[in-house]
């Protein structure tokens, strides 16, 4: 494809505020669940409080998602048509692996089950109760499958946009990865702050802070790929033109705390992994800036096209 070659005569789908906030909460829920599962699979008992917090955040961030998606429909009471085909003579399960919206609807249902069970498990463990069923192999398997689903939930929203004929969205294939990296950045910053507030969470806060430096780097690289894919299509100006560059500026500012290490607690650990020092009071500010950036990135992508 040559420069400015892409032709778009498509109509706007009017995916606006409900979808923006769904993408935002889905990214944070999926990112938090993934990070919690990763810490759980890593097996360090010092991370237990952070794992619980991660599953709490994943669950509570997931709660608004089905509500937002349902309200966005023209016919909200037909939300279940996403899962069941009601065509006369062809009634049955509705699943199209080639339609990200269809796959996403099913993934959200299954992920909802995982997030709920993990939340209940975390809640029980937080009250000192043992959950034998979720220990050992089954617990690890649950964390692996749930973690993979969480990655999907955080990233498929970008693929959903790309699998269209809209300018910008369909001119790139980087949005899935970009939304995933952005969701992980926000989740790591949010969890680092929440975990850091707990005396027994300092060790995890260190790791989360470090990962919060890696994910923005990943996000930055994917923004670069996003830009590179839009240039041949000639739609770069539409994505980054006025006033959208203001949102992109906010999104870039949202990367700074992570890249500059602001979200990383100044905590060091002794040989047992216990935290012994901290001098960071900026975590809440950093988390706020990162989360606003996560929202701005999605807003820039969604609204610049419509």
């Amino acid at each position: 494809m040559t420069l400015a070659d892409a032709e778009h005569f498509v109509r706007d789908p009017d995916w606006t505020w409900y979808i923006l906030f769904y993408f935002f909460f889905a990214g944070l829920s999926g990112g938090s669940y993934f990070l919690a599962s990763l810490m759980r699979l890593n097996g360090n008992k010092l991370d237990a409080p952070a794992v619980r917090i991660g599953y709490y955040v994943a669950f509570f961030m997931l709660l608004p998602c089905p509500v937002l998606l349902t309200l966005d429909l023209g016919k909200p009471l037909r939300f279940w048509h996403m899962l069941v085909n009601t065509t006369p003579g062809d009634v049955g399960v509705s699943f199209k692996y080639w339609s990200p919206m269809s796959v996403g609807a099913w993934a959200l249902v299954v992920y909802g089950g995982f997030a709920t069970v993990s939340f209940l498990e975390a809640w029980a463990r937080g009250r000192g109760r043992s959950v034998r069923l979720m220990e050992g192999f089954l617990g690890k398997l649950w964390a692996i499958v749930g973690g993979l689903l969480a990655l999907f939930i955080a990233g498929y929203t970008g693929v959903l946009l790309s699998v269209s004929n809209q300018p910008v969205w369909s001119d790139t294939w980087a949005l899935g990865g970009l939304f995933l990296a952005s969701g992980l950045s926000g989740s790591a910053a949010l969890l680092a702050w929440l975990v850091h507030r707990r005396r027994d969470g300092q060790a995890s806060a260190v790791a989360l802070g470090r990962s919060e430096r890696f994910f923005p780097l990943l996000e930055l690289a994917l923004i670069g790929i996003f830009v590179a894919t839009l240039i041949p299509a000639g739609t770069l100006g539409q994505a980054f033109g006025f006033p959208w560059f203001l949102l992109w500026a906010v999104a870039f500012i949202g990367l700074l705390p992570g890249l500059a290490g602001m979200a990383r607690p100044r905590v060091t650990t002794d040989s047992t992994g216990a935290a012994v020092a901290t001098r960071s009071g900026m975590l809440v500010v950093a988390a706020f800036i990162v989360l606003i950036g996560v929202l701005a990135l999605r807003a820039a992508v969604i609204f610049s096209v419509q």
Partner: protein, 279 residues
């Protein structure tokens, strides 16, 4: 009178070279399908319909921004007019992405949105490359031309084709329409109308359009993507998921490194500033 038999592919051949812009097709469509229509749009030109949408399933495009002077002696420059409609693509983008199964291919090989199945997710609107589909404000579901599905079931041709006074809109079996279109093209070319061309009559655009056109200019002039740009949404599925997968793999790697490096981190702490602000 066209014999309409389920199992055969039917469609429109819209010959823009004989369209006079009378809008009889628009009126007939609204009349039959009980579409009240929108407020007229008055812009710079004579097109007061605006675009195809939930209320306008036929839209006569007026391309009147042509030079006032004739191109040559006896060659008055004509406006371009075209009665646009859903193309009922063989490989339909809307049908491809629809998550509910509301969009189906009928027994007449047309693309139909079932209003009682559609839940108004609008994925089809994001996908249709021709901007045909829109959410209806009243019914709250996606709407577009049905190629008069109800009339076909009753053995009647679509209302727009029936009303067209110049046979610019011709209805019939797609195979026959293609033959007719090819002959018309040859006639025009033999008369020196070299700019005439067919759009969607072969499989170069979405596998072939059941509603195809004879155009008098480049497809882009009529807001139709050329063959190179007539691409399906699913083209981004594999690359989109692959990018997500690679990002996910890097996230696992980065997360594990962050967790493992903490273990190896040397003890460098004093008791200064310990944990009061962390509790």
């Amino acid at each position: 009178m066209v014999d309409i038999t389920p199992g055969k592919a039917y469609g429109f051949f819209t010959d823009t070279s004989v369209c006079i812009g009378c809008k009889a097709c628009e009126v007939a469509c609204k009349e039959w399908n009980q579409l009240p229509g929108n407020e007229p749009v008055f812009g710079d030109g004579y097109d007061n319909t605006g675009s195809l949408d939930a209320q306008n399933w036929r839209h006569v495009q007026f391309h009147d921004n042509v030079p006032d002077t004739a191109a040559g002696a006896g060659q008055g420059k004509a406006w371009l007019m075209m009665s646009d409609v859903c193309k009922h693509c063989k490989n339909a983008s809307c049908l491809e992405v629809c998550p509910t199964g509301a969009i189906i291919r009928t027994e007449f090989d047309t693309v139909f949105i079932q209003p009682d199945v559609c839940n108004g997710c609008r994925d089809c609107i994001a996908a249709c490359p021709y901007g045909v589909i829109e959410m209806d404000e009243k019914s709250k579901v996606a709407q577009k031309c049905t190629l008069c599905y109800d009339r076909l079931q009753g053995g009647m041709e679509p209302a727009c084709a029936k009303a067209c006074p110049t046979q610019s809109i011709q209805f019939g079996p797609v195979i026959e329409l293609r033959e007719r279109a090819q002959k018309r093209l040859e006639t025009l070319h033999s008369q020196g109308v070299d700019e005439a061309r067919l759009y969607g009559a072969d499989d170069s655009v979405y596998g072939g359009l059941n509603a195809f056109f004879l155009l008098m200019d480049e497809p882009e002039r009529y807001k139709l993507p050329n063959a190179e740009n007539a691409v399906l949404p699913s083209r981004n599925n594999a690359k989109g998921y692959l990018t997500t997968l690679v990002t996910g793999a890097l996230a696992v790697l980065g997360g594990l490194i962050a967790l493992r490096r903490r273990r190896a981190e040397p003890v460098a702490a004093t008791s200064e500033g310990v944990t009061d602000d962390a509790s």
